[in-house]
């Protein structure tokens, strides 16, 4: 079933892709092939492969339980929040929070997670900013 759903999504993706390809504005100074042909070929391959998934699905993969799916969802959410907040909070605070959360969810006890989070953040800061001289986001506190 998973493969069939995947095939359905793939087919939809191929259709949208092909449609987007056909509305590419052509320049008056175009080569013989133009900017549409290659994307359309790609859309065809996507569609063919998706149809194959619909017709001959592989055996079902083992999906994680809802709890674990939620785990992955929240981890992704935390990473997105990290991306958004990095320039605001600055590298040290944002990284300590994000890595603390991740290590907690991967099984470190809560108090220890705080230590690991801060340690990861400070460690990366020392190695990459102070030793290697990379520019990390500095944020509101100015460090």
């Amino acid at each position: 079933m998973s493969d069939r759903i995947f095939g359905g999504i793939g087919l939809l993706l191929a259709l949208i892709y092909a449609w987007q390809a056909t509305i590419i504005q052509e320049s008056f100074l175009s080569d013989a092939v133009g900017p549409k042909t290659f994307p359309l070929i790609i859309a065809c391959i996507l569609a063919l492969a998706s149809v194959y998934f619909l017709l001959k699905p592989d055996p079902e993969p083992t999906w994680p339980s809802y709890g674990r799916l939620a785990e992955i969802f929240f981890a992704a959410l935390v990473m997105l929040a990290y991306a958004e907040l990095l320039p605001v909070l600055g590298f040290l605070i944002a990284t300590a929070l994000a890595s603390g959360y991740l290590t907690w969810r991967l099984g470190t006890p809560p108090l220890q997670s705080v230590v690991v989070g801060v340690g990861t953040s400070v460690g990366i800061y020392i190695v990459f900013k102070l030793i290697l001289g990379l520019s990390l986001a500095s944020g509101i506190l100015g460090f």
Binding site: E26, S27, F38, R68, A75, P87, G107
Partner: protein, 514 residues
């Protein structure tokens, strides 16, 4: 002779203080990354590319650093195979078969040292193979026009799944997905935006580094979240005595013919499209077993030759895989695809012209590989105890560090939150694709080569005044297309069989040792 003088020039490039230090750092980091389960060579190199880039290293130093990581990871993969019976990366799978039984017999140190020597032999001779073969291949590649390149790219995609691929539709889907992503951005030939949905950030396209780090490194973090184990299970890891860490001369002499034979096999497997290091080590192990132990008396029960064979094979294949990558600009495996990303992000176009336009880069790199090999040998025999201690770092601490370093690298390149979000998106996509058994390497290769492939097709057709038959117009293109078609179709018939053989070989041996 010309080759040798080129090589000498290469040594002159590589033997500066900075480059040697970088090679040393790369070998060290690479070995650690190879040893840690979940951080294979592709991941390791992928995370370090943005860093090498933001550190402002020049082309040659950056390449030296990253290929040292590549070779180092190939060495390191064996450590967890032998000690924990968990392959550090896919090619090291076969090393588990005899390595772990040796460790159980208290000969872990010997197995580690022997496999270190075998890795050295494989990698050393494969690097010579690279020196001799790549310039020859360059001569052929200079005959290639745009039509031939288009066919060659197709061939690379068609064979990428390898002979053991079970579902070619999924490989094709992955390749199309990657190519499709590469199309995003302003068309290089006519200047019109494509698939940007009016989003300004997308006008320069999706940076392939963002895609690579997201697909490889972040998806690994999600996999770990999914398979998180309780603390009790983690504590239950077996403790292994290392024993003596120097192999006896007798054992080395005993294994020498094995190492030499499997080096040749592995190198060939590495050069051919669609084989790569995993198949190299598999072929090496099974051929050696057939040859010296046809009745299966000692192999799988801790035979030193069963450790030497796959290690020499997979390291030789790693060297062999560099031949098509450097000479043609078409990688045949995941890690070489990532190395191609290194070259592209340094604004170096690999392929035949690389050898004439940037000889210092190529030969400096090859010389660095030789130097790195000796460093790795020196590091791996006496310092193997240090690397085994790295295995004690639990993934719950390691994986957040990996994720954060990935973010640091990508943020360092662009300084934009948008790229970080795209990377998280790729991480999720990578996780889903892995669950669906869709290979990630074609996606990567697609994003890397997509524009180049399209440009070649359009150039060929434009030169022929819009006549598409030019794509199959020369004998060379016809040969390439035939190989591509055969390479794509063959696994449909034999892929299942080969895969099953690889699995049963492993399961059977595993059941004997448990």
């Amino acid at each position: 002779m010309e080759t040798l003088s080129n090589l000498a020039d290469g040594f002159a490039v590589a033997l500066t203080f900075q480059n040697i230090a970088l090679a040393l750092a790369g070998c060290f980091l690479g070995t650690i990354m190879g040893a840690l389960p979940g951080l294979g060579p592709s991941n390791g190199v992928a995370i370090l590319i943005p860093l090498a880039f933001t550190l402002g290293l020049g082309a040659t130093p950056a390449l030296i650093l990253l290929t040292s990581v590549y070779y180092g990871a190939m060495y390191g993969g064996r450590i967890s195979s032998i000690l924990l019976n968990i392959p550090g990366d896919e090619p090291a799978m076969m090393t588990c078969l005899d390595g772990y039984p040796m460790a159980q017999q208290g000969r872990a140190g010997e197995a580690l040292a022997l496999s270190g020597v075998a890795s050295f032999v494989g990698a050393f001779f494969a690097t010579w193979g690279l020196v001799l073969l790549a310039p020859q291949l360059v001569k052929v590649a200079l005959l290639f026009g745009p039509a031939e390149y288009f066919a060659l790219f197709t061939l690379a995609f068609a064979t990428l799944g390898g002979i053991s691929a079970t579902n070619q539709a999924k490989s094709a889907f992955a390749a199309a997905l990657g190519l499709g992503l590469a199309m995003i951005g302003v068309d290089t030939q006519t200047g019109v935006p494509r698939f940007t949905f009016g989003e300004v950030h997308l006008y320069d396209g999706i940076d392939f580094l963002v895609a690579i780090v997201g697909l490889f490194a972040l998806s690994e973090v999600f996999i770990f979240l999914e398979h998180r184990r309780s603390a009790a299970e983690e504590a239950a890891k077996p403790k292994i005595e290392i024993g003596r860490i120097t192999p006896s001369w007798k054992m080395l002499r005993y294994c020498t013919p094995t190492m030499l034979r499997t080096t040749v096999l592995g190198f060939i497997a590495g050069v051919l499209p669609g084989a790569g290091a995993s198949l190299g080590s598999f072929i090496s192990y099974s051929m050696e077993k057939k040859l010296v132990d046809p009745e299966g008396k000692t192999f799988g029960k801790g035979d030193p030759r069963g450790v030497a064979a796959p290690e020499a094979g997979n390291n030789a294949a790693a060297g062999g895989a560099l031949v098509p990558m450097l000479a043609l600009g078409v990688p045949g495996s995941g890690t070489t695809a990532v190395l191609l990303a290194v070259l592209l992000s340094l604004n170096i176009t690999p392929g035949p012209l690389l050898f004439t336009q940037n000889p210092d880069v190529v030969w400096g790199l090859i010389a660095a590989l030789f130097i790195g090999n000796f460093m790795l040998l020196a590091m791996n025999i006496p310092m193997v105890g240090l690397f085994t201690r790295v295995l004690m770092v639990p993934p719950r601490i390691l994986m957040p560090v990996v994720a954060m370093i990935s973010f640091v690298g990508i943020y360092g390149i662009s300084g934009s939150s948008f790229d970080l979000m795209v990377m998280v998106g790729f991480g999720i996509m990578g996780w889903v694709l892995r669950k669906m058994d869709v290979p990630l390497v074609p996606v990567i290769l697609g994003t890397l080569l997509g524009n180049e492939m399209e440009v070649n097709m359009r150039r060929a057709v434009t030169i022929a005044d819009g006549d598409y038959s030019v794509l199959i117009g020369s004998p060379l293109t016809i040969v390439l297309w035939c190989v591509a078609i055969i390479g794509f179709i063959l696994p449909i018939f034999v892929g299942g069989v080969v895969k099953r053989k690889m699995r049963t070989a492993r399961d059977k041996e595993a059941s004997q040792t448990d």
